[in-house]
Symmetry: C2
Subunit: 225 residues, 2 copies
DNA sequence: TTTCAAATTGACCTTATAGTCATTCTGACA
DNA sequence: TGTCAGAATGACTATAAGGTCAATTTGAAA
């Protein structure tokens, strides 16, 4: 009887395995983004993915492990979405305003994504941390340039995060729509210390920047049902 | 054998009953205000109260029913704490700033109370609604007086709530202390549309108002361990 | 067509929590 | 001091969720 090539054999299942793993991740995204909070359980995820419960544990140690991976994906997507525009804007406050505008537009356009983001910010500290790191950089620059009225950069970061998270939560429940975005961005800038007129100007500039970098939205938001 | 007076008999246990009920409510407060989020379960509450599980169900239909009652108590306490100062301030934005200052000072002084408030705002929508009703009144007045840069009163309310909730959460984890309060109040006022200088003036005025109404703090915050 | 390592399955176990109820305890009154 | 309605108890059931594993299915290679 002919010998079986074990290494070859070991590679056979990889495609199938990868497909199942992706299905579980995708189902988890859908669960976390569901309109009424489906409690994110292993049973719910596996049922949504159409696989048996045991299969879950072949691919992830437990639910937190899956959440961590999902979080990394979200961070990568956010980064890919925001960095190009951020790199193109020199003034730190306008840069921050541009990123906030793009982010809020995406969230307004995709409530499911907004729900996912809102929950990720609460449940996945790493996602929040990664976003805040960039924000902290911008605000530290602003402080160095004498543009920041808030005493500590850390507090300024918290203020921006609070406003964006609130907006995200309002988008996710459709209590506001995209037309409120400039109002929110102006409020963020004013909170940072911009005089009202200056805040309005920067918000307009941020909107133009966001227009210029508006391509590829679907690549990010199209994934979630 | 002498007859027993049944109506009289029915009233016998009332004091005992009321004491047990109060103990359960108090234990629930402690659970919700615990440093690391003790999951609020019937078992946890009854154990903290030193009563058997069945006793809980003699006094409350279920956990949501207890939470609703706890929420009403919190609303009443907040109202008692904030209304006197609010009634004394004429300008709506300064009134709002005064209320925010008093609230944040209380929360800074009592982390357990801050934790309770932070969780109540998320878990007990009625508490949040009641507070927001007052806030909405102030901000509607401000809009009528042309003091509001935010387009909709509703959005303005959300912005203030977001900032106060973020602050509450930071107090509850001791990531900021009371010295940050003026910074936060100024940021709130600026977000509403006050020019930076005006925001600073109103914040100072609010601090003086808060000083004047600083009595009785212990009556509110002393309850929670 | 047969083989077999890997992938998958789902019944089963464990733990945590909600909620019930027959039984026991308590204490003011007769 | 004995009575007994009401208060309290805690063992009990039911359910939901995490996690395991012996048995079954899959599919490329032989």
């Amino acid at each position: 009887m002919a010998r079986v090539n074990l290494e070859r054999r070991a590679a056979i299942g990889e495609a199938k395995r990868a497909r199942t793993r992706a299905a579980i991740l995708e189902a988890a995204r859908a669960c976390y983004a569901a309109p009424e909070p489906v409690s994110a359980t292993v049973d719910a995820v596996t049922q949504a993915a159409g696989v048996a419960k045991g299969t879950f544990y072949l691919h992830f140690r437990d639910l937190p492990a899956l959440e961590a991976e999902l979080g990394e994906t979200l961070i990568a997507e956010l980064s890919e979405r925001l960095e190009p525009a951020r790199l193109a804007v020199v003034n730190p406050l306008t840069r921050m305003a541009t990123a906030v505008t793009i982010l809020l537009r995406d969230l307004a356009a995709a409530p499911a994504q907004a729900r996912l983001a809102a929950r990720a910010a609460v449940m996945l500290p790493d996602v929040a941390k990664a976003v805040q790191a960039r924000l902290r950089g911008d605000l530290a620059d602003a402080q160095a340039a004498g543009l920041l009225a808030v005493g500590s950069v850390d507090l300024a970061v918290r203020i921006v995060v609070a406003l964006v998270e609130q907006a995200s939560s309002l988008f996710s429940t459709s209590r506001i729509d995209a037309t409120a975005i400039p109002d929110i961005v102006r409020a963020v800038l004013r909170a940072m210390g911009c005089p009202p007129g200056d805040a309005a100007n920067r918000t307009n500039e941020a909107a133009l920047n966001a227009d210029a970098f508006a391509q590829r939205t679907s690549a990010v938001t199209g994934v979630v049902s």
